[in-house]
Every structure is written in C-alpha cells, then in structure tokens.
Symmetry: C2
Subunit: 149 residues, 2 copies
DNA sequence: GATGAAAAAGTTTGACC
DNA sequence: GGTCAAACTTTTTCATC
C-alpha cells in the first residue's frame, strides 16, 4: 500500500487519540468525515493499522520490574518452537534475534524480583538456551510508540 | 485505585480491541453496558488507561531497522536535560537507566542503516555520553503490550 | 477518490434500585 | 456500585460528483 502525507497525518492523530471522531480526523487531515473514514478503513484493511488498543500503565497493575535478558544458545533459535516457547511466557514482552555474541534478546516485565527470577528460570528451560545474562532497569525515562515519520 | 478481576477483564478486552462496544465489553466482564462504561471511565480517570491508540505496523511505514544501544557516560544521566535530549531524537523509542556497566539503554528504530548511523551520531552528541555500543536486531520474533495479569 | 446526507449503531446521561 | 432506557453523537452506507 502507498502511504501519503494525508495518511501519515491520520496515523499520527489516531496514535495520539484513537477515540476521536472522523469529523475531527478529517479536520486534521484536510478531509471530510467520510473521506477520513474511508482512508482509515483502507489503512486497517492493508494492515498498516494492526488494531485499536489501549495504552495501560504497567505500574498501575503492579508490574514494576523491567529487565532485558540476553539468551546464549547452542543451537539456531530462529525456529518456530523457540518462538512459541518465548511467547508462552507472559512476562516476555519482546524477543529479537540479534547480531552479536548472544543470540536472542528478550524484554521482560514482572511485578516482583521473585517473579523475575521465576521468568529467568523459565527462559533457562527453553530448548537450546545455555546461559542468560540479565540487565535490570533501574528507571525508565520513557517507552513510546514508533514515530510516524 | 483498586483494580479487581472485573477491571482486569475489561482491560484485557480493551487491549485486544478498543473499538468494541460497551455492550460487548459488559458481556465479557459480566456487566451491563452502562456499568462497563462507568468502569472504563474510572480506569481512564485514574490513569490506568493512559489513552486509546492505534497499533501501527512499523514495517509499513518503512521503519525496518531496529537496534538497542548502550550509552556509557561520564556523568549521572538521570537528570531532566538528558532525558529531554533523548526524547528529542524521534528514532529513540525507549530509554532506561540500567544496573550494570553502561548507564543507559535505548531502543532505536529507523528506516535505513544510514538513518541508524545518524541516530548513533545524535546519541554521541548527548551531553555526558562517552561511548555507544550497538546491538542490531536481525529479526524480531514479536513485540507485544504488557500482559494484563 | 471525495462529498454530503440518511440510516444504523454506539455513547452518554440520569432516574431508580 | 449496578441497571435500564431515552437523548444525543458518531459511524457507516450509499447515491452522486
């Protein structure tokens, strides 16, 4: 799909507040409400907008411990079972294959350090993982969504 | 604010799809549409729900390069100007003070490796930063929102 | 593609439990 | 707190340009 500047304006506005009316969106993008609606419908159909969701404050739910964990492995970890094993651990928010010594970098968020320990144990038990190296976050400056450039 | 199981059900359902009706939300949580509406209003007022937003596929916008950068610093980087300097770089999605050798871990997403290079240069120019260590992501398994437990 | 207006659906309020 | 229903607003469709 081709995304032009009008689409980008709509995306940025929706990222800011997905609850606003199509009339308001149209005003921002220089469109009628109907056209704004049609543009957004296409962006959703094309998968540019994956879904409308809600940004929840993790701290309010008691999830105050954040850490990044490097997983070193003795086998190729880019296969489907490995992916699924990581997905099955709820505390794992992200998992990436990286260039460099360790093979997988995961982002983990838990309520307590005991939970973090339990999650690390679960990561150790993933097939192929030989060691983990954990970096605990002391304070987060910010976590924001990808910029719409 | 006290968050009970009914609230958690609502939060999980909204995270999945913020566009669904209060009638549907009520059904999930075992509430009338009116009560679901009132609960969600309170969750928003209390800041548990920060905002309703849209999940945009970064790849569709051409943002295909992801990296994590460790910033080593010669001064305390937990101050407001440092935070703002990082915030002012659009490609920086996250910034965390970490326990360990380097002091700040940032997550960076750009369209090209040239853009990544430009971002690294910008990070080098942040006051106090003495060196950067970059880990480039080869493939992302997943990036998802914090679990509602 | 965009517009404008009508029809359908959802949100929001308020009286009552 | 929760329910129900009426009043209001927005979404969605559609004929037209």
């Amino acid at each position: 799909m081709t995304i032009d500047d009008v689409d980008r304006k709509l995306l940025a506005a929706l990222q800011e507040d997905a609850g606003q009316s199509y009339a308001a969106l149209g005003e921002i993008a220089g469109l009628s409400a109907g056209s704004a609606h049609e543009r957004v419908r296409k962006l959703k159909a094309a998968g540019v907008i994956r879904r409308t969701t809600v940004d929840i404050d993790p701290a309010s739910l008691g999830a105050g411990v954040l850490a990044f964990v490097l997983l070193e492995a003795n086998a190729w970890m880019g296969d489907e079972p490995t992916q699924q094993a990581l997905r099955d651990i709820p505390a794992v928010e992200e998992a990436h294959i990286i260039a460099g010594p360790a093979s997988v970098l995961v982002k983990v968020r838990t309520t307590t350090t005991e939970d973090l320990q339990a999650t690390l144990r679960a990561l150790h038990e993933v097939d192929g993982v030989t060691s983990t190296q954990t970096v605990v976050v002391l304070e987060s400056f910010f976590e924001r969504q990808p910029a719409v450039v």
